[in-house]
Symmetry: C2
Subunit: 110 residues, 2 copies
Amino acid sequence: MKQYQHPTADQITLTGVLHALSDPVRLDYVRCLAESECEKSCGAIPTTVAKSTMSHHIRVLREAGIIHLRPYGTQSLISLRSDELEKKFPGVLNSVLKSVKSTNVVEPGA
Amino acid sequence: MKQYQHPTADQITLTGVLHALSDPVRLDYVRCLAESECEKSCGAIPTTVAKSTMSHHIRVLREAGIIHLRPYGTQSLISLRSDELEKKFPGVLNSVLKSVKSTNVVEPGA
DNA sequence: ATGCAAGTTCGATAGTCGTAGAACATTAAA
DNA sequence: TTTAATGTTCTACGACTATCGAACTTGCAT
């Protein structure tokens, strides 16, 4: 059984979170996870990069404390650590998510 | 007369802003600028890195659209582009600043 | 057992980043 | 016109990063 290591709330740093979110690929994963509000496997997240590259990005997000991984058969179920992040850095993740959504919209008022 | 180039609001990207804020040195500059709410020269911002390194970080912040530089004699006056950032990415800068302040405090309730 | 599916890890590579010293540019002051 | 003060640019260097393919691991189904 694969065991993943997650940072505790104390170990999560603001710069670490910001850095993890500053990559377009990773930010899109986080946006995708936030949209469904439930666990997703890697395969359920649409991406353009190679499988190994995706695994790398997922690892970065996990080590930054942004996501939680749970083994389920051959897959890894991913969930956002929204509540912990909100408690530690209030508003940060939510405002970023709100911005990343509206940024990708072509016409805000349409 | 030195002329600085600043990105327009359209050119500012969320990942660019997050990346610029993800460095501890730069985040501390931004925190320092936000505290006074007025222009500051480079020399007025306390730092531990070399002069050339600071110049580099200031440049990164400027090119990300986070700060505005204005020549004043031999110095450069720096100001936060708070309003523009708030309009483009509502809540992002403010929540980050709130978190970076409370993070550095030893006892939140004391 | 065999094969398949889903991720992970390893090795390599090209690119970016933070750092600092030295040299330079510009402005103000003497 | 020197001299000093304030930043900027250049060059270099070590560390880190995003990317991929190949090999590997693990669990499930047949």
